[in-house]
């Protein structure tokens, strides 16, 4: 719980001929974290002979899945046997041929549909003109202009064209409010006509070359063609879907089998190998070493050598011996979700304390202190309970963390006496409540806005809105306790690794600094009477000790410890903001409830939405700030981090 799982360094030597059996055995055991070998005296091993075939198959299967849009989690992989590679390859090539033929077909049909639609859209306006397709072309002495114009001054345009020449024919029509024209004019006046038309905003319509006959007939035939193409498209899509359904489970299950196989086939690249012998270096949890040895001796019939030893601890400050020892956190079941928070930040290095347990206790306390509302805690708890069924893995860890924090929120809601922002019984129920059930009610005289009024508040220890200063003081005291706790943890860590003198100089010196400043403050404020030189002397001694322990960097950080303590004032600040928002929502809702049924409904709506938003903010804000208080203020005094996550060979990696 306090430290990561004990690891042992592992060296495994086996002859090259038994390599495949050894890899199979290690993969099944799932306990060895393999250390990649860097090319030094020994060469890097070469992959198993099957590797190229497996990766080719894997590539083909994955490309088929991509082109058919098969997503792994939609299909339950049936328990499949390992197929011989050649047979599987033949099946895959077959599927690929079918799939690519169908998708090519689909692309062609889509293109044709696009063309047909485009053509019919472009010739649709022509239906309002009394002309057939052949009338638009084939002239020697006429130029034809067909297109849309701006509708304002059609008569002016006609006059202008009349001004150019008398030999013209102008057809006008309307298409959905846009006027269009077909102008037939003698070719010699083509340029001038162009100028006139463009001054009226002329946009030409292109007449397709291959269409003949009447416009309406052409449109009808195009629509019929579009229908038949759509039918064809549906058929092709159905074909693709059936290919997908038939083969999806086979492909998905084979893909997962082959992924494991390729990992096994390529793992020798991380081993060291000579001509006849392979050397595997890695780590194994100390408790599993013996079972690993017996499994290996059964698989390899004793023809191997395995050596385990304890990882070396750090001797000199900053000079770690085995820095890459993987870290596997082990914590009681209730603290396990909080390991996610540690993975987010930095895993502890192998030799230092695992702070997950402390995090799992203090984080919910901070969260509850900041949110502190019985109703909100209840809602969040129930919501998390419902969500847990749908998620697993990392998301489940977060949901569990929030669920535990919700319990703490409910507790602090009782301490602060808040329920959805309400701190008191309404005046209609209050007096009866206090008479009949005095434990559910505190009668208080509150000075607000210059008058004294009786308030029937919920039972509480501390009222957040009325006793702000006490809240601030409590937050700062919590900060002081938390930071001193982290100093003690740091003291423990350094004592274990570097000895008592270093630990004393680096951590206890800060405690002495705090005592000195406290003495100084108390003496100046008059609460203590002692000759002034005592606190100053203690201060000087502590500064000297800090300099000896941490050097100049420590001196620069002197005020940091006090500003870090002040940072805990955010416990009060965020709490007050959350309460404030809740009170605002309640004040908004109050007038609605007097106004009849519609008023009650809308009041409930506003209540739900307002408090919903506040709950959302209330999960986000306190979560981030509690986390930040831990990462920065708590961890900076004892946590070094830098641990490598333990990922054993054979386990499915996320």
């Amino acid at each position: 719980m306090m430290y990561p799982v004990k690891m042992s360094k592992l060296v495994l030597i086996c002859p090259g001929s038994l390599l495949e059996k050894a890899i199979g055995c290690l993969h099944k055991q799932k306990v060895v974290h393999i250390e990649t070998h860097r090319k030094g005296d020994l060469d890097i091993g070469s992959p198993l002979p099957d590797a190229p075939k497996i990766s080719e198959l894997l590539l083909k299967i994955r490309s088929i899945c991509a082109s058919l849009a098969i997503v792994q989690k939609d299909f339950e992989p049936k328990k499949q046997e390992i197929m011989p590679y050649r047979k599987l390859m033949k099946i895959c090539i077959d599927i690929e041929k079918q799939a690519s033929a169908a998708s090519e077909e689909l692309k062609k049909i889509n293109q044709e549909i696009n063309d047909v639609n485009h053509t019919s859209e472009s010739i649709r306006p022509l239906i309002s003109l009394p002309l057939a397709f052949d009338d638009y072309r084939g002239y020697d002495s006429l130029s034809v202009f067909t297109g849309f114009v701006n509708g304002h001054d059609m008569d002016d345009m006609k006059n202008e064209i009349k001004g150019i020449t008398e030999k013209y024919g102008l057809y006008r029509a309307d298409h959905h409010g846009r006027p269009l024209i077909a102008l037939f004019i003698e070719s010699s006046k083509q340029g001038e006509a162009q100028n006139v038309l463009s001054s009226y905003g002329f946009t030409p319509i292109i007449i397709p070359e291959n269409l003949k006959g009447s416009v309406s007939k052409a449109l009808k035939s195009l629509e019929a063609k579009a229908l038949s193409l759509n039918a064809k498209k549906e058929k092709t899509e159905k074909t693709i879907l059936s290919i997908k359904k038939k083969n999806a489970s086979l492909l998905v299950s084979q893909e997962s089998i082959l992924s494991a196989e390729i990992k096994k086939a390529e793992i020798p690249l991380q081993f060291a190998a000579s001509e006849n012998v392979t050397v595997i270096k890695g780590w194994v949890p100390s408790e599993s070493a013996n079972s690993l040895r017996s499994a290996l001796s059964k698989a390899l019939k004793g023809r191997f050598h395995m050596a385990v030893e304890e990882p070396k601890a750090a001797h000199d400050y900053g000079h770690e011996e085995d820095p890459s020892t993987p870290v596997k956190l082990s914590n009681p079941k209730a603290s396990k979700p909080f390991e996610f928070l540690l993975e987010l930040f930095n895993l502890p290095s192998y030799h230092e304390l695992d702070p997950t347990f402390f995090l799992s206790i203090i984080f919910p306390i901070f969260f509850g202190f900041m949110l502190g509302d019985l109703g909100y805690g209840l809602v969040i708890f129930l919501a998390c309970r419902l969500l847990l069924r749908k998620f697993s893995g990392q998301a489940a860890s977060i949901i569990r963390i929030i669920m535990i924090s919700a319990v703490s929120t409910m507790f602090f809601g009782l301490v602060f006496g808040e329920f959805f922002g309400f701190e008191e019984w309404p005046h209609s129920i209050g007096p009866n409540m206090c008479r009949n059930a005095p434990f559910l009610c505190n009668v208080q005289e509150v000075h607000a806005h210059g008058a004294v009024e009786t308030v029937y508040s919920f039972p509480h220890l501390l009222s957040r809105t009325h006793e702000k200063m006490s809240l601030l003081v409590i937050s700062l005291i919590i900060g002081a306790i938390h930071i001193n706790f982290s100093l003690i943890l740091g003291f423990w860590n350094i004592w274990k690794s570097h000895g008592l003198k270093h630990a004393f100089l680096e951590k206890i010196s800060w405690l002495i600094l705090e005592i000195a400043v406290a003495l100084l403050a108390l003496t100046y404020m008059g609460k203590l009477s002692m000759p002034l030189f005592i606190p100053w002397a203690v201060l000087a001694i502590s500064i000297l000790l800090i300099y000896l322990g941490e050097g100049t960097r420590g001196l620069v950080e002197l005020p940091a410890i006090f500003s870090n303590m002040l940072s805990y004032a955010r416990l009060m600040a965020i709490g007050l903001s959350s309460v404030g928002l809740a009170i605002v929502v309640n004040d908004l809702t109050k007038p609605f409830f007097a106004k009849g049924v519609l008023g009650v409904i809308s009041g409930l709506l506003i209540f739900a939405v307002g408090h919903g938003i506040n709950i959302g903010l209330g999960i986000l804000g306190p979560f981030l700030h509690s986390l930040r208080l831990h990462y920065v203020e708590f961890f900076s005094r004892f946590f070094k981090g830098g641990g490598v996550k333990y990922s054993p060979f054979g386990e499915e990696s996320l």
Binding site: H449, L472, L566, S567, A569, A573, V632
Partner: protein, 76 residues
């Protein structure tokens, strides 16, 4: 609710204390945060160091908050 101008000015002073220090901290953390996220995009392990370095200017806001509270204390 009538308050005299002295109290009003004290309130303005407290508001300015925390508001301006918050702006200063935000400007500082903006630059650091941008660099931290850029570094994290290249190397995930730097999240912890990046976070700590980004929130170093928080002390500015905290001192501002303390000053604001002391000023309000002056108002009695």
């Amino acid at each position: 609710m009538a308050i005299d101008i002295g109290t009003g000015l004290i309130a303005l002073g407290a508001g300015a204390a925390i508001g301006l220090s918050a702006i200063a901290a935000a400007i500082a953390e903006k630059a650091i945060g941008t660099a931290a996220i850029g570094a994290m995009a290249e190397k995930e392990e730097l999240f912890g160091k990046g976070l700590i370095l980004t929130v170093i200017p928080e002390t500015l806001v905290i001192f501002g908050l303390v000053v604001a509270i002391l000023i309000i204390g002056m108002a009695g």
